[in-house]
């Protein structure tokens, strides 16, 4: 029996982690896997640290990913990558969007935003770095930065590019399909 794969998507509430997990849910379901996603809604979404779990395999029981069990960690912000890195397996992969969003604890001066996060992570895990916000601005729409990250993540997974594009088309709002496809292609080409 094929082992259940566990993916975590972490970021800051409002960054669009939910639509990303839904695209992952879509592609794994289309491939015939049993799939469970677990999301965070409500107050925790408001600018807080958010986590979404995606698990797929022949038969998935637990809907959450636990410490030391994730195959892939997709981080929309680098401090969040550091916060959740210990959820990865020893040989796990991190896709990290190299963006800094100060939490309120840093804004108020109570804490310091750590330096050298990417270097620290690279010492322990396979790290794929992307500056998705910069790339999205090049495409003329900063809002599709999350789809660029999906494009980058797609290269680390075994699903056909056409399938990803098909799922994106089905999942994102109709008016944004073309822009999101472009963003995916940009991420995929990196």
């Amino acid at each position: 029996m094929e082992q259940t794969k566990s993916i975590m998507i972490v970021g800051v509430g409002g960054q669009g982690t939910l639509i990303t997990s839904r695209i992952l849910g879509g592609i794994t379901t289309a491939a015939g896997y049993d799939v469970k996603l677990s999301e965070v809604h409500g107050m925790a979404q408001r600018g807080g640290s958010v986590v979404t779990f995606v698990r797929y395999g022949e038969k998935v029981a637990e809907p959450i990913v636990e410490e030391g069990c994730a195959d892939v960690l997709i981080a929309f912000e680098r401090l969040e990558a550091l916060r959740y890195a210990h959820f990865l397996k020893k040989d796990g992969v991190i896709i990290v969007n190299d963006q800094r969003i100060d939490p309120m604890t840093v804004v108020t001066g109570a804490c310091i935003y750590p330096e050298g996060i990417i270097e620290k992570l690279s010492a322990a895990y396979k790290v794929v770095r992307v500056d998705a916000m910069e790339e999205a601005k090049k495409l003329g729409n900063s809002r599709v930065f999350n789809t660029i990250i999906i494009g980058v993540a797609a290269r680390q997974m075994n699903f056909a590019k056409e399938d990803w594009l098909r799922i994106i088309e089905k999942t994102v709002p109709p008016k944004t399909v073309e822009m999101n496809k472009l963003a995916f292609e940009a991420g995929y080409a990196m």
Partner: protein, 579 residues
């Protein structure tokens, strides 16, 4: 039709209601239950509405059931408290058309003020409870609940938790089965709950529960999975998934119905396993009953009563196995915060400056309790801001609350706040209530309410005028202030808190996340004018950060140009420009 779709637990419950032939659904939004109504509304065959609160929603569903159709009310766990008055008595009345209440609990408090267990409420109300463990069961159990409701003449509760409600899983879709309306016949002994009738119905309720408990042992949703009998586990809901993950070889009794319990089945299972564990999140509801029958079972002595469970936790507690992982990094916490451009921040910045304490309520604005705003002193439940302020004034006198206000959102005000305001007027109180009117139910993700002018179905409707409403209940002093006009707001708050009367300030500005409110502006800094005073940073907008040289930077992807920072800058170092 047999299509498979990946669905949220809540979406699956909505689908179950649809397939079961439900015709009426009522609810008040509350995490983690909101998406049930947001999905039900997609089915034209179901009449669905937002009610002003859960009690009203429950009573709407009861009326629909009495008239002979299948109906449903859904709410979060604390909403069940609001609806508990009709719930306890409809248990006596029973149903005509099937009646299902969905109670969404929040172990781990992702978005709630407490961690209560709705199964306990249902047990006291003598309402049977089904507990699904994934999206497929969420749909199947909802359908079954309607059948059981009609078969046993009882309202049924579906108990979910955040982890079920907000997890997605694969669901097999079926067609809707239209259910013929049951004929309505006047039946006062059953439907009029006055003492003489209720006495008889209470006898019926006890018999009903006894019968269901007997039948429960042969219900297919209570199922035994015998494997290795060294370890036996009784569990239900989401914890079942953790048990399967952590103890794949153990024998399991999975309860689909958690109240009343199938005693015969449990006794038989217990006799066949060496060590019996009971795995249930929150209260030891199953455990205490099983132990009261003289069965030895291990539960809360090794498993917590608080928060969510996980497979790792079970491995550790039951198998004494540690899962190896790297140590977590010590990193700055990132608690939730008000969004950039949130009108609440503007109001809070004024109150902070005036050193005013806030009696708070339930909504995004509860975040005004934390740094750097620190404006809200108290939060209890929906509507409590106004009545707690009133209680303070009556206890300590009107001068004591001259540096206090009650803070409540528009949706929360209509939920239960208005009763408290009536009470203030009636009892000749002094005090100022600020209604933070952002034209929506914000925290749960933008649901309409009685003052927005739109129904759940999206049709235009009468919008309650909050000013007229306050006047009508006898509040003489009602001021309407744009939430981002900090000068006017300051002047108004100072004037109203000084007044020896009940006053209301309605601070208006739509939620920054409303799609109809996408800003065309953004704020930028003019570094040459910045005096590094930090005034703009005080309200804690996440879009503004202090740079190493002491000047500030505004993140243009986050800023929505509300201009609060610009108003606070005395040196014109911030400008509003088009995006």
């Amino acid at each position: 039709m047999s299509e498979k779709k990946i669905m949220l637990g809540n979406e699956a419950i909505a689908r179950g209601a649809y397939e079961a032939g439900v015709k009426v659904s009522a609810a008040y939004p509350g995490t983690p239950s909101t998406e049930i109504s947001e999905n039900i509304v997609k089915y034209d065959e179901i009449y669905a509405e937002w009610a002003p609160n859960e009690k009203v929603a429950m009573e709407v569903a009861i009326g629909a059931s009495m008239s002979g159709v299948r109906s449903m009310a859904s709410m979060k766990h604390v909403g069940v408290n609001v609806a508990s008055d009709p719930l306890y008595t409809v248990s006596y009345i029973g149903v005509n058309g099937g009646l299902v209440i969905v109670a969404a609990d929040d172990p781990g408090l992702y978005s709630s003020q407490n961690e209560q267990d709705s199964r306990c409420v249902a047990r006291v109300a003598q309402v049977p409870v089904l507990e699904p463990s994934d999206s497929q069961e969420a749909k199947d159990f909802t359908k079954l609940a309607f059948e059981l409701s009609e078969q046993y003449d009882t309202p049924m509760m579906i108990r979910t938790t955040t982890r079920l409600a907000h997890s997605q899983g694969v669901v097999e879709l079926m067609d809707r089965t239209e259910v013929e309306d049951k004929p309505y016949e006047r039946n006062a002994p059953k439907n009029v709950m006055m003492p003489g009738n209720a006495k008889h119905r209470h006898v019926f309720v006890e018999q009903r529960l006894k019968k269901m408990a007997e039948d429960a042992s042969s219900m297919a949703i209570n199922k035994v999975e015998y494997q290795d009998t060294k370890i036996g586990v009784i569990t239900s809901g989401i914890p079942y998934q953790y048990v399967k993950e952590a103890l794949p070889n153990a024998s399991v009794l999975k309860l689909g119905m958690v109240h009343p319990l199938p005693r015969k089945l449990i006794e038989e299972f217990a006799s066949k396993v060496d060590t019996l564990y009971i795995v249930e999140e929150l209260e030891p509801l199953i455990e205490e009953q099983v132990q009261s029958w003289g069965i030895k079972a291990i539960g809360k002595e090794i498993l917590t009563i608080q928060g969510e469970y996980s497979a790792t936790m079970l491995k550790k507690a039951i198998l004494k196995e540690e899962v190896v992982s790297a140590a977590p990094e010590q990193v700055p916490a990132r608690p939730p915060i008000l969004c950039p451009g949130c009108p609440h921040r503007s109001v809070f910045s004024v109150l902070k400056e005036l050193k005013i304490h806030g009696a708070g309520d339930i909504g995004c604005y509860t975040l005004g309790a934390v740094a750097p705003l620190n404006v809200i002193d108290t939060t209890v439940c929906m509507g409590a801001s106004i009545s707690t302020l009133h209680g303070m004034e009556k206890a300590k006198g009107k001068d004591y609350i001259k540096n206090w206000v009650a803070l409540i959102g528009d949706s929360t005000f209509l939920h239960t706040g208005v009763n408290s305001l009536i009470n203030m007027v009636y009892n000749q109180a002094t005090g100022t209530v600020i209604i933070l009117d952002n034209s929506t139910t914000g925290m749960t993700g933008h649901q309409d309410h009685a003052a927005t002018g739109k129904t759940l179905k999206g049709t235009p409707t009468y919008a309650v005028d909050l000013v007229d409403l306050c006047h009508a209940i006898g509040v003489e002093y009602v001021s309407v202030v744009p939430a981002f006009d900090t000068a006017l707001l300051k002047e108004t708050v100072k004037r109203e808190v000084a007044r020896d009367a009940v006053s209301v300030i309605i601070a208006q500005a739509p939620c920054a996340l409303l799609k109809t409110n996408i800003s065309k502006n953004k704020c930028i800094t003019l570094p040459e004018k910045c005096k590094k005073c930090g005034m703009c940073l005080v309200p804690g907008c996440p879009a503004i950060t202090k740079q190493e040289d002491g000047t500030v930077k505004i993140d243009d992807t986050m800023c929505n140009g509300c201009g609060l920072c610009m108003q606070r800058c005395k040196f014109d170092a911030i400008e509003k420009v088009e995006k």
